[in-house]
Symmetry: C3
């Protein structure tokens, strides 16, 4: 016998709009604007009533399998915790460590290293798990191909179960959902608030998944969204078009600038994130290092935050101190980075409950 769900959670769950079968969550845009907002309501209800939910174990016997092709602290731990809070089981798989390498190409004679094809690996996982999570970073191949998130797509094609993207080349929708939750916690009325996503220096050519998802999160809440980055560090043009379209739909705005000072003027939130260029001179390893060496002043400082309200500081973590942002910002009262990390639990719990709890 299990306890019933707290009424506030049950109501929020009932109001989550079901998105189209098979219900993948690959870009995070699948639930649509209303779906996203109702997931945020469910996240708040779960967070508020977490002890009663833990006793109710609404996902007892349900299995979430997370396949990690790339390393993870927050995503892995927060998914394990989200499962724990709901009574679901979390099964983790790391290909290559204690598991076979996978073949993704079709109609290939598998006489090389790969012992298993994604068709079988995904097919089996889809039988074992109610929802399959997948983390696979871009491999710095052709962006035209990477942006389609080919590993995720292959699993979605063959798993026969819903796939949750635990970070892909194009989007990090669990982070985006948690960021939307954090923004709504900071600003119960986010409409008209100024959200600045600023590029930041970093020794590595990091993926663009987080900045894409962060832009969409802010735009989905009707904020005035400004993207600031140096020349040659353009994000994906379709991702920008999506941000623009979301902003129009919600009564927000979206603009891009190379002038960081102007961007920070009047900002309510500064979201810092490093990424590497996918084309042009800065897209090579050497070109990135050269560019970053000249762009150290894009590192976020206290002064940047005080051109606005002052602005709250956000970052998805992990963050390199002294490179992306100063210690004083991270350790000061304007930083929301731990709240963002914390909200991963509740955003993902809402997602899992919406996917498995009906």
């Amino acid at each position: 016998m299990t306890d019933p769900l707290p009424p506030a959670v049950a109501e929020a769950l009932a109001s989550v709009l079901p998105w189209a079968s098979p219900g993948h969550f690959l870009t995070g845009l699948e639930p649509g604007l209303d779906g996203t907002l109702s997931l945020l309501d469910l996240a708040v209800a779960l967070r508020t009533h977490q002890d009663e939910v833990a006793r109710a174990r609404p996902l007892a016997g349900r299995v979430f399998a997370g396949m990690f092709f790339d390393p993870s602290l927050r995503t892995r731990a927060s998914m394990a915790v989200a499962c724990a809070k709901l009574g679901a089981s979390f099964v983790e798989l790391q290909p290559g460590t204690g598991m076979w390498t996978l073949e993704f190409k079709d109609e290939v004679v598998m006489d090389g290293m790969a012992a298993e094809h994604v068709r079988e690996a995904a097919g089996v996982l889809g039988r074992y798990a109610d929802v399959v999570g997948l983390r696979a970073f871009p491999t710095r191949g052709q962006w035209k191909r990477e942006r389609t998130q080919p590993v995720h797509t292959a699993f979605a094609d063959h798993a026969g179960a819903p796939i949750v993207n635990l970070e892909g080349p194009f989007a990090h929708p669990c982070q985006g959902l948690a960021d939307a939750l954090t923004l709504r916690d900071l600003f119960p009325e986010p409409n008209g608030r100024k959200f600045v996503l600023s590029w930041a220096p970093h020794p590595k050519q990091l993926p663009m998944a987080v900045p894409h998802s962060a832009l969409w999160a802010a735009a989905s809440l009707g904020m005035d969204v400004t993207l600031a980055h140096p020349e040659d560090f353009e994000l994906d043009s379709d991702a920008l078009a999506t941000a623009d379209s979301l902003a129009r739909e919600t009564g927000g705005t979206f603009s891009v600038t190379h002038n960081r000072d102007a961007a920070f003027d009047g900002a309510d939130v500064v979201y810092a994130k490093a990424w590497g260029a996918v084309s042009g001179p800065a897209s090579t390893s050497r070109g990135h290092a050269d560019a970053v060496a000249h762009l150290a002043d894009w590192s976020i400082t206290q002064k940047d935050l005080h051109r606005g309200a002052p602005a709250r500081f956000m970052h998805c973590l992990p963050v390199r101190r002294g490179v992306v942002v100063g210690d004083d910002v991270l350790d000061g009262p304007l930083s929301s980075v731990l709240d963002q990390a914390d909200n991963r639990i509740w955003a993902q719990a809402a997602l899992l409950l919406a996917m498995m709890g009906k």
Copy 2:
């Protein structure tokens, strides 16, 4: 307070014959024919009533510890899922990754690499877990020794708790139990149905555990079992004698042939599996490569399946497409490979409940 077990599950559980103390499951033959059949009944009951069983959590507080000396996708994930469905806890251990290497020899001065003896490692695990699972492949040493499954035997000797073989050199009994379940799903009256186990080409010299267990599974159901393989790829003679003896006991038949076309004539099931020779010219790495190069026509095709009913296709996975079997077979309607993988959950859940649930 926990829900009671569904009556169908409770009845099936009551009818599982207890096998001799300490109840290891190393070859899979330990429960005897009646025990195996009652485990299959229990597996079906658990699968049918899985939601009620998940709520009842019959193994709450019980611990299954799986020690993996070799990599695993299906076995590890399906055991984790089986535990989840029953409310048991799954503790995974990988010697050598985050753990000490083990000494197996007795009366040795341990001044080398090994920091712990199997006597203590097994003894401790047997205190921590209600059932200990163990995966250890053959090391291509002397077959005479390998066939005794020495790692499994050492743990069984020292754990003081029942051991479940999660694949050893001689048998893969969890796969065998799942295969028996799949065969009974396909043929509610398996008696007299023709089951063909066919060798297949593969670049690696794979173990014989799965073919042994598959033969025993089919023979235990009273099927007409044909083993087809090229010369020089004999399975273990005791394993064959066991298959023959089981077939006699159940009213089935058992035969071995080198003529694959004759074997496939009238087949109801074709189970493909690659393995390496343990003696003779094909037993070396070079000899295996030479032999396989001449045996590409042992790869399973649609045509092979249509010499019979047509025949259903089975394989334990992982499978190399274009080498062991054609894409069209795996992607076609005759393939049961995902059902086999799925049945791992319920076969193992039955086993765990029988071992820990009384």
Copy 3:
């Protein structure tokens, strides 16, 4: 709905004295003498009523996150099992395998290998877990620094959640609590019983955490504690002073000798443990090897045990047979090593319930 705790467990839990906020368990001395004794009572109650406790799931929805910078069999498995018995979730993290490397220095420009600072890593873990466990061995740097357990301290400073030491350079308090439990199981009236902690040979320069915690455990129970080791293998002087002070407080005694035969005379317990010197000639790798080569007679034998009651043999495991101690001791009736390992479950379960169950 969950069952209530068995009355004996609830009473023992109520009597566990809360130690000072934030309730870290880094040396194991934090709960104080009365707190330690009441934890032992709680451990016994949990062990006695384990089936009812498993049904009650007193820590359902609670999360224990264990971060393992160093390998582990017993600690990891026993913590997973302790969580399972209480219904808590165990989330494991291994930095460097599937996770980022961490920066521990403050005010550093993070343009090197480390992708995350302990301030964020600990801060996030402290949000995700109700209690954070941490295993980090000494790195054979300056003992003056190592003895402060700098990794543990950094996490304690930044996690905002209680930290449990799963073995650090200075103490292994979970082992110590289990050892105290084992001593009380062996001697319900431990006062006045002779406890000998004897150094033993080992090819590696092992840490001093276990011997420190073992001394404190025996002294906390009022035993007559003798530490026997060869010259040049002194333990930490503050650790010895703590043992002496605990013994005075409990009516026991504490002494140190280089004469192993005298130490074993009349012993009720012989606890063997190898460790390396942190200063002096034996503290180098070469010096250790030279010293150990001349100290083979410090290996524990049956004869040593029979200079006393006869004495029970204890060791924390893993143990090198034929080096630290003879096979006949480990396999004989005087060995308590498996009971010590088993008691890890119940000592840690008491700790977790005391930290999370109120």
